[in-house]
Amino acid sequence: MRALCMLCQKREEERDDVKKYILKRVLISIFTLLAITLVLFILLQLMPGSPFNDEKLSATQKAALNAKYGLDQPIVVQFAKYVYNMFSGNFGVSYNISKNTPISQLIASRLPISIAVGGMAVSLGAIIGLLLGIAAALKHNTFWDTFCTIISVLGVSVPSYVFALGLSYTFGFKLSWLPMLYQNGSPFASSIMPSVALSLFTLASIARFTRTEMLEVLGSDYMLLAESKGISGGPLIVRHALRNSLIPIITVLAPLIVDLMTGSLVVEKIFSIPGVGSLLVTAIQSNDYSVVIALSFIYSAMYIGIMLVVDILYGVIDPRIRLAKESDS
């Protein structure tokens, strides 16, 4: 009875631990996002020129305009308003790309396409990488192992747009199997090449990581125990080896998704996909600052969100990580 009580108490404490951990992560994320908003706000103040630099305007007219747009208020109030606007998705209007279109509208029409291509790339990379890694670990020191190593070294070190250009030239231009440029009519066929090009980095990293993890798990005592208990073949690998090696793999997914976001900029430009990445490139090239700032905010928010989810996920799945993180700080 007493032991049961102790167990209950321990559970209770553990749950508190999880709560504390999640709270801490969420707070840090919110703080980071606020820090980014502050940086963006400062940048906006630093930008050259003023909207009211017409010489015909008298001082009183300028004051009236400033009052109208809230520019006469203390900087803290302005910042608070700015934060409110950013968080409620009110990013202002575009100046150069498409005049006076609300930026939120521009982004809303493009985000789904980017997410579709990115999602395809992540799933492609994760699945094939996982399979390749498992094959390499099971057939350690054979052809598959070497093949996996070569693929992972190539995939990690060659930038995704080199692959993109290669694919575009062979399959798009020479063989004409797939459209070279994105066609709105056939979104699936047009996203095959971009997703493949984007996925190679994810694929390579996951294959490499899976291989290492699997080798470690396969050599562990509990695998020997499981095997000696008569479990073999598929169940042994899936239920005992894979499940244990999957946990650390989640940890590498977050940085990979972020790399994907960077890669998508160039790949979207190469295949002229009407997504967020190409919008950012166009905005940078045409000096459309408000679009750049809005997209920076969205990218940061997405990034922080993904990191938060992954952090919480593996903190909850694997208590060792949560505890290690706490003793770390």
């Binding site: 980071t32 940086v39 940048l43 070294v153 250009l165 990034y303």
Partner: protein, 361 residues
């Protein structure tokens, strides 16, 4: 540490009372027999750490091959622009879009300066050199849209890219190393605050920081290095901090402190030399990242301003005509890919050489 005082006194073997009347003779302190009698393991003699590291590194074929390739590329980047006799910024609008033509190789039928153009009427073979009657003009990698020699520009671009990467990596190493070591050494509140700061900076996507910086600062070499500096030091600081946490509890640190060493002496003179392997490895890994980021920035249009060039800007320029003149985009892409590949393999080799335990994986 308190456990030392609780221990039982060590038991000394041999007769105890003898010390009272024992007399030392001079030959008690000479070696009995020569060096050949004393047992020294000649087959597996213990070696200097660096000798072992070097041995392990040079037995890794991939790493040595990469090292050689990196040296070749670096030499070409240093002397390549002088070899062809063109300048990287001189335009020659008459000699535009010439295909590669190399003196020795044209007699055996390759690199004659031919290129096939696909037109509406079918494929057409053209040779700019013959059309313009320029029999003694050679562009080894061809010429670009503005009639500049691609060979010269590629190596000039490699030089710029490598320069940016090296500068950024070294600055990152210094900042990240000091930050991580200090944060790990002092621990407690200092560590906590320093970690939070790093965490927040790390929470902002690199892409966003770099893009915003490039927007407000004038474009150029220094700005790119600065942007890379702000984002890339975090990885280095993490590694330095982890190493510090591992090392600072060890006896040699305690010994040094007992002898009266101050904190900064311990950090930089005692612990730093012990982390050097990890730090060199991380430095090697940060070079390809820097090269890649620079190439990415140039591709997006935030890179080195014209007429200067880098690998990224060459790729981005050639991209516009890569279906009609593919030879223009191939050299910079190959150099970029080889550089990234070689630096990654080099770093892998170094990591294994410094930490042989990893090799078993």
């Amino acid at each position: 540490m308190g456990s030392i005082f609780n221990r039982q006194p060590a038991v000394v073997s041999g007769p105890k009372k003898e010390t009272d009347f024992f007399e030392f003779l001079p030959e008690d302190f000479t070696l009995r027999g020569g060096a050949d009698v004393t047992r020294i393991d000649r087959n597996f003699a213990s070696q200097n750490y660096w000798v072992e590291v070097r041995h392990r590194f040079f037995s890794n074929k991939g790493a040595v091959f990469s090292l050689i390739l990196v040296i070749i590329i670096a030499l070409l980047a240093a002397f390549g622009p002088l070899m062809a006799g063109y300048s990287y910024s001189n335009q020659n609008l008459v000699q535009r879009n010439f295909a590669p033509r190399i003196p020795g190789l044209e007699s055996i039928g390759i690199f004659k300066g031919d290129e096939s153009l696909q037109t509406t009427t079918g494929t057409k073979l053209i040779n700019g050199y013959k059309e313009k009657g320029l029999t003694d003009v050679y562009y080894w990698f061809g010429s670009d849209v503005l009639g500049r020699d691609i060979w010269t520009r590629v190596w000039e671009g490699t030089r710029v890219s490598l320069g940016i990467a090296l500068c950024a990596a070294i600055i990152d190493m210094i900042i990240g190393m000091s930050y991580g070591l200090i944060s790990g050494y002092f621990g407690g509140k200092v560590d906590s605050i320093m970690c939070r700061i790093a965490e927040i900076i790390n929470g902002i996507p690199r892409l966003v920081i770099v893009t915003l910086l490039m927007l407000i600062l004038p474009r150029g070499f220094v700005t790119i290095v600065f942007a890379l500096m702000i984002t890339e030091w975090i990885g280095m600081s993490r590694i330095a901090r982890a190493e510090m946490l591992k090392l600072k509890e060890q006896e040699f640190v305690l010994a040094s402190r007992t002898l009266g060493a101050k904190d900064f002496f311990i950090i930089f003179k005692e612990i730093l030399p012990n982390t050097i392997g990890q730090i060199i490895t991380q430095l090697m890994f940060s070079i390809p990242t820097a090269i890649f980021t620079e190439a990415f920035l140039s591709f997006v249009g935030l890179g080195i301003p014209v007429p200067m060039c880098s690998l990224g800007s060459l790729i981005s320029d050639a991209f516009n005509s890569f279906t009609t003149h593919p030879y223009q985009i191939v050299p910079p892409i190959l150099v970029l890919a080889f550089l990234m590949l070689c630096f990654n393999m080099l770093a892998d080799g170094l990591r294994e050489a410094f930490d042989p335990k990893l090799k078993e994986m």
